[in-house]
Symmetry: C2
Subunit: 414 residues, 2 copies
C-alpha cells in the first residue's frame, strides 16, 4: 500500500503542474503555486492560508493598499473633471482590470494585441490598444477583435497604416474605432503633432472602414521626473503641441471625444492640458521603488500618493557569512531594474537581485538580521516587468490569502 | 452564414489560447504562438513555415548552431578527461536537456526544485539540484522526487540542513543522494572549504537517510572574466581550496565520485583542477552578448568557441523619425541586461531594450536601414533570463521552423 498505490504514471500526471505536493502525504505546512491554484474556486480561496505559508518566491498584492490606490486615483481624476483608462500592461491581470472598471474607469488600455485578446476574453469589453498594429497579420487579429467587441479601439500613426486598417476593416465587414497616436517629442511612437496629426485624423475620419474617436499622446518621458513642479512643467510643455492639435481637430469638426495620455506620475497634472479626457495610469495600483523615489505634490522626498501594494516573498537560503544573507529571489523573480527592491518594514540593509537565481541582502546598520529559512517581503523595483515573470499573484488582506489571481496576459508580448 | 455560424461563446473558447487567428478566415500569412502550437504534434512541425512568418516578438534557436555547440563542448571536455552536466536553468526546456543527454552529458543540473520536477517529469532522470533546499516544504518536495527518481541529487551546505535532509529522507522511506556545496569565495551559497566542508561531508556520510556522492563548487564570479588567461588564473586560484577539500575527503575515505562546478567561461579550464569531474555549462548552447564579449583562448576579442544560436525576432513599428526606428521587443521581450542585444548580420547600429514594451534601434553608420513592418533578428543579451520570458522557442534550420519547443520550466523560480 502507501507508496505502491500511486503508480508512476499517475505521479507523472499529478505533477503535470509541478504539483508533486498534492498527493504526497503532507507532514509539513506550505503551499506551492499548484497547491494554491487547486485550492481556489473562481480565484477565491477555499482554505485559510497565511501568506507566510506560501512557497517562495511568491508575488503578493495587499488588498487594503490596492483598494486605497483605486479610490485615491478615481477621486482625484473625477475631482479634476477627467476620467481614468488604466493600462493593463502593468498588471496583465483580468481580476484587477475588473476592479478598475468597477471603481469607475471608462475602459482599460493594452500595449499589445495579445494582451487585448486576454482582457476582452475575460469580459473587459472597453479596451484601447495604445500601439499601432503594423503587420497584416496583427491588423487582421485586431479586426477580429473589433468584430466581436465594438468597444475595442485601435491606434494609428501613419497615413499608410490608417489605409491598411480601413482596408482590413472593410474586408472583415466592420467599422473600426481609431485614435491618432501623437508623439510628445520622444520620437518613439506616434505622428508629429500639428498639421501631420491633423491630416492623419482627417484621413481616418474620411476612410470608409474607420470611425475617428480622437487621439492619444503618452508622455512616458515625464512620468519619472523627480519633483512635482519639475514634472508638472515638463509634461505640460511636452503636451502643449498635442493640445493644440486637439484644438485644430475640433475646429476642423473632427471627433475629439478621446484625448488620452499621462500616467501615474502625472495623474494629478494632466487635467490642466486643454481637451485632455482620460489618464492611462498603470503603476498606481501597485507602486514600486522607481515611483517612490520621484517625490509627490505633498511629500517632496517620497511619492506617497499611492501605497506600495505589490511585494515578493523570498526565503533566506544561506546565512553563514558575515554581514549578508542569500535569498531565493534573484533576477528571474525580481528583474534587475533599479532602484533595487526594498525590504518592507526594515532599515539599514540593501537588497540586490543582480544574480539570476539568488538575491543578496547586505547589512549596513540593520533593524534586524535573518537566519536560514526566514522569509522576508520585498517592495518591487519596477512593477510592470516583475508581474510579467509570474503566472499568478496572491491577493492578501491582513496577511491572509483571499484569492489567487491569474496573470492571464503574462508573457503576451506579441 | 459566415460570421453567424461562429457563436460568440465558441469564439471565446477558440481564443482561449490567444488563438483568434485559428478560426478567422485567413487572408494574410503569419503565425501566432497559439497557431504554431496547434500545428505541431509532439513538438514537430506539420507544416512548412519560415521563421520570418512568425508573429513577433518570437524566440528562435538555430539548430545548426545548437548542434555545433553541443559537439564542441562534448568533444572538448571528453578530450580533457572530464564530463559535462549542463545546467537546465539556462534553457528550462526538456527538449534541449534531452539533446544534451544524447550528446553525452552525464546528467543535468537545476537551480530550483520546481525546475527539477519539470525535467524529471519529462524523462530527464539524472538531475543534480545545485541549490540546497532549506524549508521543510521544499525538502519534502525534494524527497518526493528522490522516491520516484533515484538519480536525483540534493545539495547541502550546513550540518543542520544535512540533518533535516536525513530526517525527511527517513520519513519518506528513501535514501537521498547528496553532494556538499562548497563556497568558492563569493559567500553566496556553500560552506567554507577545508575542515568545515570535510566535517559536513563526514556528517552526510554518517547520516542514516543520506548517501554522500561528493561535492560541488560553482565559481560564478569567474565565468565572465575578460581574457582567457585572466579567467584561467582566477578560477584555478579560487577552486584550489575546493580541490584541497576534495583531496581531504578522499584521504578520509569519503566518496568523491562527483566534483562538479564551472561553466561556459571555464569549460576548457576546469579539468586542470585536481579531482574535478564535470562542468555545469549552461550558456554554451545559446551564447549571448555577455559571453561574446569575454574573449576566448583562440580569439582574444570575441569568445568564438560557441556560436550564437538564440535570437529574438522583432518587427519595426515606427520609422518616421530621423536616425532611429522603434520595434516591438522591449524589456519584456529582451530583459534590460547589458551588453544590449546585437542586431544579427548588421553593423553601425545599436539596439536598446530599456523600455518595457518597445525596442529602440539607433543608426550610427548603418549597414542598412529599416521601414515599418520590417523584421530583424537580435542576438540576446543574457540568455538565461531572456528564455524565462517565453513559453516556447522555435527550433529552426535554414530559417524553416522544424519544431516548437515548450519552455516547460519557464517561471519555475520556486
Amino acid at each position: 500500500m502507501g507508496k505502491r498505490t500511486v503508480s508512476r504514471r499517475r505521479f507523472l500526471q499529478a505533477t503535470g503542474g509541478g504539483a508533486a505536493a498534492l498527493w504526497v502525504p503532507r507532514r509539513v505546512k506550505g503551499y506551492s503555486a499548484a497547491d494554491m491554484e487547486a485550492m481556489t474556486g473562481e480565484g477565491r480561496m477555499e482554505a485559510d492560508v497565511s501568506k507566510w505559508e506560501l512557497d517562495t518566491p511568491a508575488l503578493c498584492v495587499d488588498l487594503d493598499a490596492l483598494d486605497a490606490n483605486l479610490a485615491t486615483l478615481q477621486e482625484t481624476v473625477a475631482g479634476n473633471g477627467i476620467a481614468s483608462r488604466p493600462h493593463a500592461k502593468t498588471h496583465k491581470c483580468p481580476a484587477i482590470a475588473r476592479l478598475q472598471m468597477e471603481s469607475g474607469s471608462v475602459g482599460i488600455c493594452t500595449a499589445k494585441v495579445s494582451e487585448a485578446e486576454v482582457m476582452l476574453e475575460h469580459g473587459i469589453e472597453r479596451v484601447l490598444m495604445t500601439t499601432a498594429n503594423v503587420t497584416p497579420f496583427k491588423i487582421e487579429r485586431a479586426m477580429a477583435l473589433t468584430r466581436w467587441y465594438p468597444g475595442f479601439v485601435h491606434a494609428t500613426d501613419t497615413p499608410r497604416n490608417a489605409r491598411d486598417l480601413s482596408d482590413a476593416a472593410q474586408a472583415a465587414g466592420v467599422t473600426a474605432s481609431v485614435v491618432v497616436d501623437v508623439d510628445p517629442g520622444g520620437h518613439r511612437t506616434g505622428i508629429t503633432p500639428g498639421r501631420p496629426a491633423l491630416e492623419l485624423a482627417q484621413l481616418v475620419d474620411g476612410l470608409p472602414g474607420l470611425r475617428l474617436l480622437g487621439m492619444l499622446c503618452y508622455d512616458g518621458g515625464s512620468q519619472h521626473v523627480h519633483g512635482f513642479q519639475e514634472r508638472r512643467a515638463q509634461t505640460l510643455g511636452r503636451l502643449a503641441p498635442a493640445a493644440e492639435t486637439c484644438q485644430m481637430m475640433r475646429r476642423a469638426g473632427l471627433n475629439t471625444e478621446i484625448f488620452s495620455g499621462g500616467g501615474t506620475g502625472t495623474y494629478n497634472i494632466d487635467h490642466e492640458t486643454p481637451g485632455f479626457t482620460d489618464v492611462q495610469v498603470g503603476s498606481y495600483v501597485f507602486m514600486d521603488a522607481q515611483y517612490l523615489a520621484i517625490g509627490g505634490a505633498t511629500d517632496g522626498d517620497v511619492y506617497s500618493d499611492f501605497e506600495p501594494s505589490l511585494t515578493i516573498l523570498t526565503t533566506v537560503l544561506n546565512s553563514q557569512y558575515e554581514g549578508r544573507v542569500t535569498t531565493d529571489a534573484g533576477a528571474k523573480a525580481c528583474t534587475i531594474n533599479q532602484p533595487w527592491p526594498i525590504v518592507k518594514g526594515e532599515s539599514g540593509m540593501s537588497y540586490r537581485s543582480g544574480s539570476d537565481e539568488f538575491g543578496t541582502l547586505r547589512y549596513e546598520n540593520p533593524s534586524r538580521t535573518h537566519q536560514v529559512g526566514d522569509k522576508l517581503e520585498l517592495i518591487v523595483s519596477h512593477c510592470d516587468p516583475v508581474v510579467n515573470l509570474y503566472d499568478q499573484m496572491y491577493a492578501t488582506r491582513d496577511d491572509r490569502v483571499e484569492a489567487v489571481w491569474r496573470i492571464a496576459a503574462r508573457g503576451r508580448s506579441a
